[in-house]
Amino acid sequence: MCALCGFLGIEHWSDTDIVAPAAPVAAADPVARRRGRRQRIAIINQVLGHYALQLDDWQACSYLLSSRTGRTEIVEDPMALWAAAEAMIGRKLDPLAPDLLARLEADSDGA
């Protein structure tokens, strides 16, 4: 997120609650919000797992990105996540890489 967007409180497009858009943030069900946040993390971990990385919630406002070698980094929002992951693994993270796709399909088939 750029500084201006952060200052203005503009949320990332992918965080838009389009299923229940009318619910004001203060009135939103906190349990549902936590559940949604957990689900987002689980989806992202499907990809990160291929690179031996893991994402966890960090106090319900940020994310903790960690590697199996013990490196950790706090990530503020989705826009910063993939760049942080690339920096941690030291190479390009390609969502269309055949080996990633094979793993995602295998994970899904084995579920």
Partner: protein, 365 residues
């Protein structure tokens, strides 16, 4: 025409050098229906000629101070659009209800669209009406052969205008139009001679308006244009059956040399259709991953999707690295309530995009 809270439509007029952009614009600006139009042009190449030609038609001109409309100078575009809006509010310029940005022939239209989408203040005041691309009927084919920028201008268009058609032999025009249809199946093609075309065909003509107009979404998406036989080698063995409707760039141009059409070969246009409602979190993560990591080659993404837990359809629209916030539509435009996602990509094979989306859209929890 526009209410106080409504955003002004912005049309991006692009096309390669000499393809007739300025002729078209000067004619359009003389049309009675185009009186309340502000024009932004680049100071690049034949800027003097451009300026003189359109200055006579409209006083609302902001000349960008530097070069081509690309990433390095898009702050100029931000400044120009902000200044224009402020002058409008202060009544320092005549009332205008739309903006046309004429790019240079070498411009990549993507950064212009991204500028409109990413700058918070611009996004609150303006909305993209569409990308209009001019192609010279006589030399357009050769330009597409040589210039990757021209291919991208065609691939990203919402409207394709074949200019100087009267100067080119009919078979060449037919071949060019067929090539344009393969590059960008969803964009209607119009013939233009001497810059003459009805503005209604180019502006407010069914392009996407996030504020509503459900009926327009069907024309905006135009996924029917992508429908051909499903691509071979891909079965439908999982919950959200999808079809891949159009793909091109692999040897369709019979009779051409192997290198002649190389820029076209990099472009793919296809529609993915999902019969079951999708989970927004999964779709958003998948599209965000694609946009973040392969956005440079994700030229346009448009879609109308059915989401689990949401009865109304949702429109999504992305340009390379950026996506508009999803727009909740009032109703489905027709009886087809399947999710449809149209992609125009460069060097992103349909099968790979579909495979990644499939894997991430599956609910295996």
């Amino acid at each position: 025409m526009e209410g106080p809270g409504e955003r002004l439509p912005v049309s991006v007029l692009t096309g390669f050098l000499g393809s007739g952009k300025t002729t078209l614009l000067s004619r359009l600006l003389r049309h009675p229906g185009m009186g309340e139009t502000a024009v932004i042009v680049n100071e690049f190449g034949e800027v003097g000629l451009d300026h003189r030609l359109i200055a006579r038609a409209d006083e609302d001109i902001v000349l960008l101070a530097s070069g081509c409309l690309c990433c390095t100078v898009r702050s100029d575009l931000v400044t120009a659009l902000r200044d224009l809006f402020l002058k409008r509010v202060r009544l320092q310029v005549p009332e205008f209800t739309r903006v046309v940005i004429e790019t240079t022939g070498l411009a990549d239209p993507a950064p212009i669209l991204q500028t409109l989408m990413s700058d918070p203040l611009l996004a609150a005041r303006y909305r993209l009406d569409g990308v209009i691309t001019t192609i010279d009927a006589f030399v357009g084919g050769a330009t597409l052969d040589r210039q990757a920028e021209a291919v991208k201008q065609v691939a990203m268009a919402d409207r394709l205008l074949v200019t100087k058609r009267d100067l080119a032999p009919a078979p060449a025009v037919a071949a060019l139009e067929e090539r344009l249809r393969r590059l960008n199946p969803g964009a209607p093609i119009f013939a233009v001679a001497q810059g003459e075309i009805a503005p209604a065909l180019l502006f407010d003509a069914g392009l996407y308006d996030p504020e509503g107009k459900t009926a327009d979404v069907r024309r905006w998406l135009n996924e029917a244009a992508y429908e051909t036989a499903p691509a071979p080698g891909h079965d439908h063995t999982h919950g959200h059956n999808h079809d891949h409707d159009h793909h091109h760039g692999h040897g369709h141009d019979q009779g051409r040399g192997p290198d002649v059409n190389r820029h076209d070969d990099r472009i793919a246009a296809f529609c993915l259709t999902y019969s079951e409602p999708l989970e927004w979190d999964r779709l958003a993560r998948a599209l965000d991953l694609l946009a973040t990591q392969r956005g440079e080659d994700l030229l346009r993404v448009k879609g109308i999707v059915a989401l689990a837990g949401q009865a109304r359809p949702v429109a999504v629209h992305g340009v390379q690295h950026l996506f508009h916030p999803p727009a909740l539509l009032d109703a489905w435009p027709d009886e087809d309530h399947r999710s449809r996602l149209v992609f125009i990509t460069r060097d992103l094979p349909r099968a790979a995009v579909a495979g990644t989306l499939d894997a991430l859209l599956r609910n295996d929890e």
